[in-house]
Symmetry: C2
């Protein structure tokens, strides 16, 4: 089932207004969610939206909170998200990092006490649209056993890196697990094995069977010990810079996951470069790859969905329509 971008945005925005957001904030948050579905990432767009509404209803997400700077030192700031709407907090934090980068070449905002940012790539595209390099990551609830353990003690801590490019930004958006639980479920429902090993089964053997990994709760970090170590480092930096929660302090139930810590970095390469130099370098790297660059497929999907309509999961779409009708 497909809907127009305008329809999707309007319904999401009305739902958020009904949930208590100010109209302007509802529209921005709705745009970020709609953009994720438009870009082919419905798993972190519309499909996460009902959970956001539930977490607003239970009071875990405070619709009136605004992230604010609590301390600053030169080009780095520490912000408190006040348990506000995750994608708005993240958007505001990246905006502040971009402003710091314009003033100082580089800017960093560490955000504590916030909520799930939904699609991480959002803030990479935001930085690249502003013409700067964006790097950001979030910690998460414990959902990944570190290498050498069989119980989840680290988060999959998604990392986003974006480099602006006039013909299409280069944007990497990747979690530290080889496959998300969402991806495991999707493969299982399609009756497909994973293309590469994605975790351990209950006997401790590497497997490509998604159901076996769902059963063991032992998904694999990317690169085995390497992604495990990287997840630890991202958590350390996010928690220490922001002064907020580390993964081990975040409730392990996704419906209760709150108080996460995030880092937003922006770097203005053009401030050091000759005119046109940065674009030439980026274009040459992309051209030499001879395979798809990170973000290339996103742009193709975006174009197709803006023409054909945005795919929506019918049951989720009906839920949101019901919420809007019910509460209006």
């Amino acid at each position: 089932m497909r809907v127009t971008y305008r329809e999707l945005h309007d319904v999401l925005s009305r739902a958020l207004e009904r949930a208590g957001l100010e109209p302007e904030r509802a529209q921005l948050s709705a745009r970020l969610v709609a953009d994720a579905s438009r870009d082919g990432v419905a798993s972190h767009g519309l499909n996460l939206f009902p959970r956001l509404l539930r977490m607003i209803a239970t009071g875990i997400v405070d619709v009136r909170a605004r992230a604010r700077c609590v301390s600053a030192h030169g080009s780095i700031e520490r912000w408190d998200g006040g348990r506000g709407v995750g994608n708005l907090n993240a958007h505001d934090a990246m905006s502040a990092a971009i402003a710091l980068a314009r003033a100082h070449g580089i800017g960093c905002v560490a955000l504590a006490n916030t909520n799930h940012w939904m699609r991480g790539g959002t803030y990479g595209w935001q930085a690249a649209d502003a013409g700067v390099i964006g790097v950001c990551w979030t910690n998460t609830l414990p959902n990944l056993p570190p290498w050498g353990a069989d119980v989840a003690r680290v988060g999959n801590n998604p990392l986003v890196i974006a480099v602006p490019r006039p013909d299409g930004h280069v944007v990497l958006d990747m979690a530290m697990s080889q496959f998300s639980y969402g991806a495991l479920a999707a493969h299982r429902l399609r009756g497909e094995m994973l293309p590469v090993p994605g975790g351990f089964d209950n006997s401790g053997a590497l497997t490509q069977d998604p159901a076996a990994i769902e059963a063991s709760r032992r998904p694999l970090p990317i690169g085995f010990w390497k992604g495990s170590g990287l997840a630890v480092m991202l958590d350390l930096i996010a928690a220490t810079l922001s002064g907020g929660r580390a993964t081990h302090e975040i409730p392990a139930d996704p419906e209760q996951e709150t108080g996460v810590s995030q880092v937003f970095l922006a770097l203005d390469a053009s401030s050091l470069a000759a005119p046109g130099e940065t674009i030439r370098i980026v274009d040459a790297i992309v051209a030499d790859l001879q395979v798809r660059y990170p973000g290339e497929r996103t742009l193709e999907t975006r174009r197709r969905n803006m023409t054909d309509g945005i795919p929506v999961e019918p049951s989720i779409w009906q839920d949101v329509l019901g919420y809007v009708a019910h509460t209006s």
Copy 2:
């Protein structure tokens, strides 16, 4: 075979003086190489030293060059390495990034036109010893096929992240390939299979046989498509910030690998935190892991080698001793 740290350092320092470095610079470069072997990373310490001497002899490495700042904007600087000694250039660049972080909370130095930094972890330990978070990476010659290709078009672009901790810094030092060619050779010589799949054989099947990967020249990026994407992003940022070479412009022969681009970031978490807060957060994360933290093994190895002596590969050690004797 083992030698004392002092003996190792003195011989390396004398070799570098003979090769034309000023005494003070020879001592610093020798210390960085000796520290790598002391920490159990001889592959990027003493074992790379003969190549450094050869590249000085052929004029690829300019022993008299000093890296210098060529443009600056607030907290970010672009440096030209002048094709100088790689570990000295990297050390100077991280020193400058640390100074920027002290002044502005965060600092970034992008270094173009430099040479192999030998052990990347060196500059992470350097930042952590100074009490700040260090993040740095280098691009390399093309040595890794991006996901979807069978020819090396990206570098393994080592990434280093270090967080200071009084009881032992947390330091991650990882390349984007699952195993280096050095690690593949070491496994093959011991007659061992790799512990996990490390690349493709000539038929395009994933394999744990190190010799098959050496033959195909198709090592695996960490996390398959994810590490491949991350390698591209690290190259893009290093080349655009520094204005230097991207991987596709770096000669593919290791004996000719020069003009690499590097990024050095330092972040001063303590500048935003209450006294003791950062240490408490880091210690709590490390304690909760219940597996080794990145860098823990390094510290154990360091203690053992300082007591028992630094292991050296006899043939390489004799080469260096011969160089010192021959040229004195």
